[in-house]
């Protein structure tokens, strides 16, 4: 018998093992609780899809909660049946006192619910705790999914009131989980409740020993995640990170560099992926980190050690010594930094509260190019205030950025779509009084009175333009098919609802 079985299901990123599982295992064990972790997302990808990503995404698409499907249909799918079988088998094998289920994002929620239901049906005596930021999302298409479930605005609460779990935690579970493991009485759940723990940095190194780390979908050597900071120093109006994580908090630059070295030396990880919302939130800690790591790398001759993560563009004048700063980034092994550029319109960037301009973005990327630091950029069309003219400014920015994906400076460009307002973002709080009309049960359906021409036809149009640009400019992407498939599935399945929503607004 073990104390704690900590698991997760599809659909999650395939490039590296889940940080939450590895981190919570090390914390639980340091507190004296035996713990086993299993990532069913990776196991299904590896064992049942033979690492064929297209097959994986196709066979798990019904788990993404973007289609109006019933519980039985999902549970009886190939992946659904496999997941149930594996969960029952593993619970019998490890005989845990408690089970934890991690839900990283909204795409993880259906699997989380399925797993909880299986455990409660087959092992009613086992206490179940769920956790993760996926849980604060609503469950779309609840009526179609299971009309018997009592509706709740967040999946975490839905699981709890329907007795599919005993409790849940959204936020910093590092120390709270240990309290719960002791006697299962503490309860940190609650609608709109986020656990902010200033001491989250005081934790042992993550333990990946249970996870099949060799069999994720990495390309240039093993990738492992780690966390150097939580929260963000920005308050972008479309983003709910400030609400979820509270004040920006971070480990010291030196301790981050030491942990990177540990993952390289202990697991032979060639690339460290920072799960941070941004790696350069504290410029002084960040410079301390890159200086320390560059020095350690040079001293030990670890030439193949790389790191990557999310990075913000700052106004150009904030970079203290550009010549030295960008050279250090290179020497520390920075590679493929993900930058949320979002838009090529200064007006939209201001509406998003991005605190940078298109010129700042171009300046930063030019420095990256001069110093052989690569990056991936993220953009999304159809922000609520984005006019056609603003969108064309994004097209124009892509024209200017073209040279940088010919020399590898920009090694990835991903175009998402503004799917809707994250509940706890500034835009998510906007109501009809502010001109924002949102469908109560579908994030993807909204219309903004102050930018009336941006209806569903215009949103799809802008995304189709970007899709065609990917083709004509040979833009390097790796989720284009996935994103376009989501859009195809959504509109071909929901078009009557979409049309009705917009027709009702017109009447209104």
């Amino acid at each position: 018998m073990i104390d704690f079985l900590l698991i997760t299901g599809p659909v999650r990123d395939l490039t590296f093992a889940p940080m939450a599982l590895a981190q919570l295992k090390s914390i639980s064990e340091a507190a004296g609780f035996s713990c086993k972790t299993i990532d069913y997302n990776q196991k299904y990808f590896h064992h049942k899809c033979h690492k064929d990503k297209n097959k994986f995404y196709d066979q798990t698409k019904m788990f993404r909660n973007t289609l109006p499907l019933g519980y039985d249909e999902i549970a009886n799918s190939h992946c659904g049946k496999w997941l149930a079988h594996k969960v029952i088998q593993d619970v019998k094998k490890y005989n845990p006192k408690t089970v934890g289920v991690s839900s990283f994002s909204r795409y993880n929620n259906i699997a989380c619910l399925l797993i909880c239901k299986i455990i409660k049906q087959h092992f009613a005596h086992i206490k179940v705790i769920v956790g993760g930021y996926g849980l604060h999302n609503p469950l779309n298409y609840l009526d179609a999914f299971d009309a018997t479930l009592q509706s709740q605005p967040e999946v975490g609460e839905l699981l709890k009131v329907n007795n599919l779990c005993d409790t849940y935690i959204i936020g910093d579970a590092e120390h709270k989980l240990v309290e719960w493991l002791k006697d299962h009485t503490v309860d940190y759940s609650g609608l709109n409740k986020r656990i902010i723990d200033a001491n989250w940095t005081d934790t042992p190194y993550a333990d990946f020993d249970d996870l099949d780390i060799e069999n994720y979908d990495y390309h240039k050597g093993l990738i492992l995640p780690m966390t150097g900071s939580k929260g963000c120093v920005r308050k972008c109006t479309f983003c709910d990170i400030p609400h979820n994580f509270g004040r920006f908090s971070f480990k010291s630059g030196k301790s981050i560099a030491d942990e990177v070295m540990h993952l390289y030396e202990h697991y032979d990880a060639k690339t460290i992926y920072f799960t941070d919302s941004l790696v350069n939130g504290s410029l002084s800690a960040f410079i301390d980190y890159v200086e320390t790591l560059a020095e350690l790398k040079a001293k030990k001759g670890y030439d193949d050690l790389r790191w990557t993560g999310q990075y913000i563009v700052r106004p150009s004048h904030q970079i203290p010594d550009p010549k030295n700063y960008y050279a250090l980034l290179n020497e520390s092994g920075a590679e493929g930094l993900t930058i949320g550029i979002e838009s090529g319109s200064n007006k939209v960037l201001a509406d998003m509260n991005k605190h940078c301009t298109v010129d700042d973005i171009l300046t930063e990327i030019n420095y990256f190019s001069s110093n052989d630091v690569s990056c991936g950029i993220l953009l999304f069309p159809a922000f609520p205030s984005e006019t056609r003219q603003d969108f064309l400014a994004t097209v124009n920015m892509l024209k200017k950025l073209q040279p940088y994906w010919c020399n590898g400076t920009i090694n990835l460009v991903n175009f998402n779509t503004f799917y809707g307002n994250e509940n706890y973002s500034e835009w998510g709080k906007k109501t009809e009084q502010d001109g924002m009309y949102s469908h109560p049960n579908d994030h993807s359906l909204w219309w903004y009175k102050n930018n009336p021409k941006l209806d569903y036809k215009e949103i799809v149009f802008r995304r189709l333009v970007l899709n065609k640009l990917v083709e004509t400019l040979n833009i390097p992407t790796n989720h284009e098919y996935d994103y376009m498939t989501q859009i195809h599935n959504y509109f071909t399945t929901n078009i009557e609802k979409v049309k009705k929503f917009h027709a009702d607004i017109k009447k209104h």
């Binding site: 240039k220 149009f461 189709l464 640009l469 098919y481 859009i487």
Partner: protein
């Protein structure tokens, strides 16, 4: 208004705005003298932009507009080199006149750095014999160093880059034409 009838042409109109036709070529050459400076010319397609003798490192800047679906032939030629411009001793060259290419940048992007494009796509054609030499980094004989690219240049270079880098994590896969049509029909019909 976006309709089933005009959606494709409206998409094409927006996509055309990202076409880049204006290019700045910066060609860094090193002229080495021997009984006279090398006589060099630089052409892009049929237009000669520079024709001069020079010595030492020099950067030549050319701004030009190149149409879509054409070629861009960058030519760096050496002419009027005489036997007296090469000094031999025991059949070994001890001093020579030539032009070495240090870098070719297009809109600031180096074609030489990391050997991404330069070597595979260039050749040197000797003036007298017409013989073609590969893997030359300049003009050491009378003749023309040529680098041929397709236009628009950047989509062409991007494809070469993605094809040449091993394990490049790129997956430019698109919806099937049937699914794309289904989406368009659902939204615009």
């Amino acid at each position: 208004m976006l309709t089933l009838k005009n959606i494709e042409s409206e998409i094409d109109k927006c996509v055309a705005l990202a076409d880049e036709h204006s290019y700045r070529f910066e060609i860094d050459l090193q002229g080495v003298s021997c009984n006279g400076d090398p006589n060099t010319y630089i052409k892009i397609n049929q237009t000669t932009y520079y024709e001069q003798k020079f010595n030492g490192d020099k950067s030549f800047v050319i701004d030009c507009v190149l149409p879509k679906n054409d070629v861009c032939n960058i030519v760096i030629g050496l002419q009027h080199k005489q036997t007296s411009n090469t000094i031999l001793q025991d059949n070994k060259i001890i001093q020579d006149q030539f032009v070495k290419i240090l870098d070719i940048r297009i809109n600031q992007i180096s074609l030489v750095k990391n050997n991404l494009y330069f070597w595979d796509h260039s050749k040197f054609v000797m003036q007298h014999s017409g013989d073609v030499l590969k893997n030359r980094d300049g003009a050491y004989f009378n003749g023309e160093f040529m680098l041929s690219l397709e236009t628009p240049i950047f989509p062409y270079l991007s494809k070469l880059f993605q094809d040449n880098i091993k394990n490049y994590n790129v997956e430019n896969k698109f919806l099937s034409p049937e699914h794309r049509q289904e989406l368009i029909k659902a939204v615009y019909d």
